[in-house]
Subunit: 175 residues, 2 copies
């Protein structure tokens, strides 16, 4: 079932990961899928943490342009109702010590790691003066997008993306 | 009951706004409080939206120092379990069109308004070159704190606060 969920996520995106489609693709009854995952966001979260997510992967120079594009993808994905449900579920688990918290921590760590790898490459290239620590960089990049989408419930403009990118350090070449 | 909830919130902070204490202060039975607000976060949210919140109020120059202090207060409050529960509840309502969404929108609008009033004052003072729009400014200021506390579940350092403050524009006098 998890293989089916992953395949649907990778091929068609978060909206495809439903109990019905996972059941059909895995060749099991829907009740079986519900027995393992009561709520759709649990199923999607399990698929997401076990798949190589298309966020901040394979950085290419110029890194500034790459980072902008990645943040646009993040903005798009966070606005999907399915992903918004996961975000809310993860936030609810604040303070709790359970399986969900562990998954969130793993997910957050992967994002931090990838973002910092990319920005270290930009620093090595001479594109960026990077002084912030990895966790601060990720908070500066993703936090404003999360707030815009989940609290202000509006679109993420190109101008906002530019300001976010500029907040992590001084960029030297513009791309 | 709402008057009692507001009084507890203002005098003792979010942790004091419980069904039991509201019932006692309002002179009603606990069941009556539960009839109006099933969950503690609903009760707290109603108290919060109807009170003059101690966020971003009464800006004083130098605005940069004031803004730093305000963000430290926001970081402290967002980390309280009671406020974290409200944040999660507000996020869950993404996409829904209900009373909770309206309250969230009202709350978010007040914060945006106050923050922009303060930064406009900084711009008038010559302290800050401000070019971002009001909603972008608020997302840049609060987003990283929200992400740090709710997703990364860690403390907000002074260095992160400084980076956040610097992300909204160019500051001229350091304070």
């Amino acid at each position: 079932m998890l293989t089916a969920a992953r395949a649907l996520l990778v091929r068609e995106g978060p909206t495809a990961v439903t109990h019905q489609r996972v059941a059909r693709l895995a060749g099991v009854g829907r009740a079986t899928v519900y027995r393992h995952w009561t709520r759709p966001e649990q199923l999607l979260l399990d698929a997401m943490v076990s798949v190589d997510l298309p966020f901040f992967r394979d950085p290419v120079a110029p890194l500034r342009r790459w980072l902008r594009e990645q943040l646009q993808v993040v903005a798009y994905e966070l606005a999907l109702p399915e992903v918004a449900a996961i975000t809310a579920t993860m936030l609810q688990s604040v303070g709790a010590d359970n399986q969900l918290t562990q998954r969130r921590d793993g997910f957050v760590a992967v994002v931090t790691d990838r973002v910092f790898t990319a920005l270290t490459l930009a620093a090595t290239n001479g594109e960026l003066d990077l002084t912030a620590d990895p966790r601060d960089v990720t908070a500066l990049l993703i936090g404003p997008i999360l707030y815009r989408i989940s609290m202000q419930t509006g679109p993420v403009s190109d101008d906002l993306i530019d300001r976010i990118v500029d907040s992590v350090g001084t960029w030297h070449s513009s791309a």
